[in-house]
Each structure stands twice: as C-alpha cells, then as structure tokens.
Amino acid sequence: MSSAADASAPARRGIGRALLADPMGLAGLVLVTIFLLMALLAPWIAPYDPIALDVKAKFQPPSAAHWAGTDHLGRDLLSRIIWGARLALGIAITSVGIAGAIGLVLGLIAGYGPRWLDSILVLVFDSMSSLPMIFFALAVITVLGPGTTTLIIVIVLVSFPAYARLIRTQTLALSGADYILAEKAMGAGTGRIIFRHLLPNVVGPLVILICMDIPVVIMLEAGLSYLNLGVKPPSPSWGNILSEGYNALRQAPHVVIVAGIPLVLATLGFTFLGEGLRDVLDPRGAGRRWG
C-alpha cells in the first residue's frame, strides 16, 4: 500500500537533518552517541576489568597505563567509568521506558476515558507528584532496601505521574479539537481515534519530556549511589566512584574530578539533545526558546 492515499506517516522528513543543523542539537547527538557506544561496547573497549583489585597501584594519578588513574583499591578508573556508562544508561533507559509506557497508557485512559476514572487517576497522579521527589524515593528505598531493582522501581514511580499527566493534558486538549470531533461525526470508533488520531499527536511531547528526563534520572541514580542508597558496590556506578573518591578527597582529588566529568557530559548531552528535538518537533515556540 504505497499509494498517496495511504501515506499516513507524519511529515517527519528531515528531522535528522534539522537536528544536525542546530549546533546544540548536534552537540547533544554527538555526546549521547558517544555514551551509548561506551555503554554498548564496554566489555571490548574498557582497558581493564572494572572490579579487579590492585592494591599496590592505589590512588595513582592519570598516567599512560591508567588514563584516568586508579581508585583506593587500585581499580582502573577509566574502565569503571566506561562500565558505569553501561550501568547509568541501562538503568535510565529501562526505567524511563517502563515509566513512559505506563504514563502513556494511564494518560490516555484518564484523558479519553470516563470522567470518574479520570478524577481518580488525576488524584493518584497529583498525590504522587505532590511529594517532593527525593523524599518519595527515599521512602521507597527504606521499604524495599537499596539495590538496582529498587532504583528502577523508584525511578518508574517518581517519573510516570508526570508522563501520565502530560499525556492526559494533551489528550484532553485534543479530544475537544475539531478534527477529533470531525472523526467522531464520521463515526470513527474509539480505537481508530486513539491510535490513528490521538497517539501520533501526543507522543511527540512525551518523547521530548522523556529525553529531558534522562539526565534527571542519571543524576538520581548517581546521587542515590553516592549516598550508598543506590547501586551496591563494587558495581562501577558513577555515584559509587564519586562516593569512594569523596572519602579520599584530600589524598587523591583526581578520583572525584574524573568521576564527575562523565556525569556532567552525559546530562549535558541528553539535555542538549532534548532541547534540539523539541525545537525540531515543535517549531512553533522555537524562536522563543534558546537554541
């Protein structure tokens, strides 16, 4: 079915090109690609085993053998950072992916479903997002105990209400739109309206929000690991490296400095990419935003 009449694909031609033309978007794309490659290829590109001890070589500053130096147990910091990318992106992408899916479904139900269900769901979303994120996360960790699974659950729980709210608001706004009324007036069923007419118009903002959320999630993972409430050592989470380095701040400041860099670059990369995507996908407000 390649006929013109069936060309239902949205006008997406040139999104990639537009992104490349925007310096901020391009920088974001490059950084994100680098981190994704690091995450995917960690076993092959990391020069050392990230958890192999070499106590004799502890706290070595950056050198030819250890480009980023070693930590208090003599582990190679570069290898730990590369494996850390895998951990950080793995957790971030898994959890926002799950949260995005939950948010999309619940948001559509709330926005397009019966009013009473909407009222209940909104109360749930509001209650969850009315908690300051960190306290909610800490409460959940207290109950479930720290660890990677807990971390993912925490991130899903703290992020999905915002996604669901976004989708609900969008759906609600669109369900009053003339073209949705027009579809209904032609007799289009709920399934057709949701999947063909609502979904393509609400996922764009969700993708942007998720992309903008990834740095927040990476930060949350690193932060909680830094507080020893996230990924358990000796896993090479960037937060763990920071926390271990913090304990030897005066002795070997290079550990903390080096461990902070990927965190800064990864969050920058995803934020820039999100900004770029937003300007490309939603060009109306582009002049008003920076970029």
Partner: protein, 330 residues
C-alpha cells in the same frame, strides 16, 4: 411526511461545574426542527444562540438532556443507530483546517469514511482522486498535509470528505467562515451543484444572512437556545414575523452607499444565558415590547404557510408592519 432529519423537543443543558453540584445551564430548549429530503434549511443566530451546540447534538457529539433525534424516520438510539446516522449524514466544521487530522495526508483523510464504515475501497488512490476532482481540486493535493492547504482548499477537502459516502444530509457549520468573498462564492456554488447532483439535504448553520438568502429553502432563527421564528426563506426575509428576525435583517450592512441606514436596528446585547430575562426573552432588546412581554413568555405559534413565530404580536398583521417600521425607521 417524515423528513430526513426530525428533532423533537431537543434540549441540551451543560453541568455548571462543581463536583457535587447538579445544577445545569440550559443551552437548547425544546427545539423542534425538521429537514425534508433534498431540502436546505438554514439555522440562524448570533453567538450564544446555541446553533453550534444543536449541530453537535444532532451528530451525537454533545450529550442531549431531553428530546429525540430521528434520522430517516427512525429515532437515533444506541451505538448502531449512531453509526448509521454518522454514515448517512456528514458534518462540515466551521474551521475546516482544524477539522483535518494534522498528521495524515489529504488522500487518506478523504477516503477515511470508507475505512471507518468498512466500505469497500479497492483503489484508495483512485477514489481519493475522484473525490478531489468532484470538489475541483487537482490530484496532487492528495499528498499534502492539512497545514499545507489554503483556507478555500481545506474547505473543499472538508466537502469532499463529507460527500465520500454519498450522505443524504450534510450539516454545515458556518461553511464560509473566514473565506474571502470570491472564494466564498465558489464554495457556495460547489455546495449547490452537489446538492442538485446528489439530492442532498443541508442543515446550514450560520450568522451570515446574505448567505442564507442564497442557499436556504427554509430558515430557522434561534435566540438564547429557543426557536423564535421559522418559515420559507423568501417570506421570512420579505416580512419577518418576529422583531428579532426583523432586527437581524435590518442590522446586516448593505453594500450600497445609497441605502445607508440612518437609525440603529437593535440596541443592547444578547443577554447572558446565566441570567435569562423573564417573560419573552427578547423583551430587553425589543423595540416594540409591551407590558405583557416582560412577564409572560410567548409560545411558538403557527402563522400559516409553514411559518411560526414566538411573539405575542406575531399574528397581528398590523403589528407586524409596526415592528418592521419601528426597526427600520426609528
């Protein structure tokens, strides 16, 4: 005689908000209206008269609080009834561009009615081309997206889509809103051609009286959600029975500097539906209102020859002249 569309005591009231409040705000009150096969009826009123609500209520887009909608002699009930209505009746929206789903091509959009109602569509491209040709658009338009169309083109795509399944009734909400005079004439001609060709009935919702004169066989005037006058177009324009209708006709600016009005047709504004006036709801603006109008609400009374009006003095021929006089030459 049963018309293609019959509304009986149709009422719409909106909840007034407030979680526990059961109060409702009446928008449409006991509207009786019928459209015969092949007939073109215009529904006229200012903003707040409930005319768009009526269109939406007919198509099942607005919850009806009372009365019935019958299509082709059958009361529309349940999902099956609604589906049948939506297949055999079509709606054109006021904002033609906004009524087209933004991420789909024109080609898909005009053939969508076939897909919705499971009608055979062996050659979507050809069908799209035929439909577009019928409304005077080149086939290349099929590959465009709604935002790439001009106002007139979007309007034509709306017509094409409305006609896809050869409906018996088309409800057109302000079919020429936002169009230039020259384009407006093209759309009106297209609509009248298609009516002759396909035997369509139209329910045209508009505030543009000049348009009504050209396209409608019969005109229905709404004021604050009630019908205040109804009758054949020529007769209503020649001798309006309700002072509101007379005022509307007189208010329309005439494109002739030699016929300038030196008086004001109507004073005051449409009252808020939150505070409906007592008695005859038009008495606050009526140039010929009397005491009785302030406390007794008139009924919609037949005047013969298919005409009705909701005015205490409508049937008094003398008075009718008086109204006309008062409005035109105060």
């Amino acid at each position: 005689m049963t018309g293609v569309l019959e509304l009986r005591n149709l009422s719409v009231a909106l909840p007034l908000g407030g979680f526990f409040s059961r109060a409702r705000l009446p928008i449409l009150l006991d509207v009786d209206l019928s459209v015969a096969r092949g007939e073109s009826v215009a529904l006229v009123g200012e903003s707040g008269s409930g005319k768009t609500t009526l269109a939406r209520a007919v198509m099942g887009l607005q919850h009806v609080t009372g009365g019935t909608v019958a299509f082709d002699g059958q009361v529309v009930e349940g999902a099956a009834g609604l589906a049948r209505l939506r297949r055999d009746a079509a709606m054109m929206f006021q904002d033609a561009t906004a009524s087209l789903s933004p991420r789909l091509t024109v080609g898909y959009l005009v053939t969508e009615p076939f897909r919705i109602h499971g009608q055979p569509l062996p050659d979507p491209e050809g069908t799209a081309r035929d439909l577009l040709a019928k409304v005077g658009l080149p086939p290349a338009i099929a590959r465009r997206y709604p935002h790439e169309l001009s106002g007139g083109q979007a309007r034509r795509v709306g017509v094409a889509r409305a006609l896809a399944l050869r409906p018996r009734l088309v409800i057109a909400d302000e079919p020429t809103a936002g169009l230039d005079v020259s384009v407006q004439a093209e759309v009106l001609n297209l609509m009248s051609d298609l009516r002759a060709e396909m035997g369509l009935a139209y329910l045209i919702i508009t505030h543009n009286l000049a348009l009504v004169r050209h396209v409608a066989d019969r005109v229905v005037v709404l004021y604050l959600g009630r019908i205040v006058e109804e009758g054949p177009t020529a007769q209503v324009f020649a001798a309006p029975a309700h002072p509101y209708t007379a005022s509307l006709i007189a208010a329309e600016p005439r494109p002739d500097p030699r016929q300038r009005r030196t008086d004001l047709a109507i004073r005051g504004e449409v009252p808020s539906i939150l505070r409906r006036p007592s008695g005859c709801e038009f008495h606050t603006r009526c140039p010929v209102a009397r005491d009785i109008c302030r406390h007794t609400a008139p009924a919609l009374a037949p005047l013969g020859a298919g005409r009705q009006a909701r005015c205490h003095f409508a049937d008094q021929q003398q008075n009718q002249q008086g109204v006309k006089h008062a409005v035109e030459h105060r």
